[in-house]
Subunit: 285 residues, 2 copies
């Protein structure tokens, strides 16, 4: 099942994809459901079975072209990202990696949905604005002190993520801080594919293209701290919350290329077996 968060006629909604471009709206198929995916994950026991039953055999209410897709979870309690989590990316940065996953947070306002514009910061402020194609996992139920062997039980589904980074600000000091969370610098979508449908993430690849040209292509199996390890680590610190987003790290670029994005470019992050997140880049006002 592929779940989307969208806006139609100024109203936010949640829907289920039908085929390539149909959307069955939960507001009509399951009118008792809360109006956001985060609230559904938080408050509807057995949300998967209930939604699957509600949309079964329903014709689409909308097509993708008539709605505006939002980030899969528009306002998560937390979006955790991990630095230096593929050897190829670690090598290209020249940075050291500790024994622990290097985690940082992004703000909701830094993220747009599929098709929405990413904003390159003003040139007077930042020289370098980079894509980072990544796999994101969405937490489906609360959990603390989660052993790695049980981590997958806490994942509702997966999505593509462009963890767009403003390198100038990122290197102002030790904390990545603002550099990882400029307004509309990242994207998250197009949908959350539920775990049953996506299957084993380590069988899949991340492919990033800029203006159609391949820039990253890596098996997810080359990840350093595995998804289970990131989830176990985070759950040492707090009770993971439904709708929390875990962005699992970016591979290196194809040798000889850079990650830079400029106004006029279109950046695509494909996760094989899941879908493609595409965003045009515009200049900040």
């Amino acid at each position: 099942m592929r779940l989307v968060s969208y806006e139609y006629n100024g109203q936010a909604g949640v829907g289920v994809m039908a085929g390539d471009d149909g959307i069955v709206e939960l507001s009509t198929a399951a009118p008792g459901m809360p109006g956001s995916l985060r609230e559904i994950l938080e408050s509807v026991d057995g949300w998967f079975d209930k939604i699957a039953a509600a949309v079964d055999g329903k014709a689409p209410d909308r097509i993708l072209a008539e709605v505006e897709l939002l980030p899969v979870i528009p306002e998560p309690q937390a979006t955790w990202c991990v630095a230096l989590n593929y050897q190829t990316h670690k090598d290209e940065t020249g940075l050291d990696r500790s024994a622990y996953p290097e985690m940082f947070l992004r703000m909701p306002i830094s993220v747009v949905g599929h098709g929405q514009s990413l904003v390159r910061p003003r040139e007077s402020m930042a020289e370098r604005y980079d894509f980072e194609g990544e796999l994101a996992a969405v937490i489906g139920k609360p959990g603390r002190y989660i052993p790695e062997s049980e981590a997958f039980e806490y994942i509702a589904g997966y999505s593509c993520y462009n963890e767009g980074s403003v390198r100038d600000y990122q290197s102002h000091n030790r904390q990545f801080g603002l550099g990882k969370t400029f307004e509309k610098s990242g994207s998250f979508g197009p949908w959350m594919m539920t775990q049953d449908e996506f299957g084993d993430p380590y069988q899949q690849s991340i492919i990033t293209r800029l203006n159609g040209k391949e820039k990253q292509n890596s098996s997810i199996n080359l990840i350093l701290t595995r998804i289970e390890g990131i989830i176990a680590y985070l759950s040492e610190g707090y009770t993971l919350q439904p709708g929390d987003v875990v962005v699992t790290g970016t591979p290196g670029s194809i040798p000889g290329t850079t990650k830079r994005m400029e106004p006029g470019d279109v950046c695509e992050v494909e996760i094989t077996g899941l879908g493609t997140l595409s965003n045009p880049i515009i200049a900040a006002e």
Copy 2:
């Protein structure tokens, strides 16, 4: 005016303090207002005058003892903190400071209200859990590219903050990550005092006490990157949102003392002219 967020009989509310311990509930005094302080700041034009008029001359509906105070903004879009922002704290850490404020984010779930328990992580996981008494500013209206000279116009009010820190995790690598955002490791309250009433923050002091004993005592005027500078810096990266929290840094401890908190302790963060945030510390289960 001092605004509180609280829970009474399982219902969240916003109120205005009357005297030492009275609360005028906005749900009765101003029934048209949204039910959270963040939503009020986001959506009510002229919220200050409207609330002031609505509570004028009203007798308190509740006393502090019968409600549970929540963090002043229970779920902000962002809580930004700044590292190494007093020379005395920089000196005690031995860390270098860059020309830019060193910013990091906290999650909502890491923060409790006045009187609620702070949770010391399991001893098997963390040796050192420290208080950090700080002044927090709450953003009152959206703003981008804010010049320092106008920064105060974007502040709705101020509060005390205990920016509780789990040092073991904080030093796992360069990012403070989880170490600054363990579940219920920090506190924010007791209220937001509006700017008109608090006046010039640089005339006030931060005093932290553990079990009644003074542990920090510093004029806020000794801050390194001033409040205006932090706000201007953040607004380079995004449009500050109503309800966003800017936690402005902690001074050093009184020489010869530590910042450690252990179960059974009570930690108080007083900002002179504003109030005192007090929390008992309990052990994690």
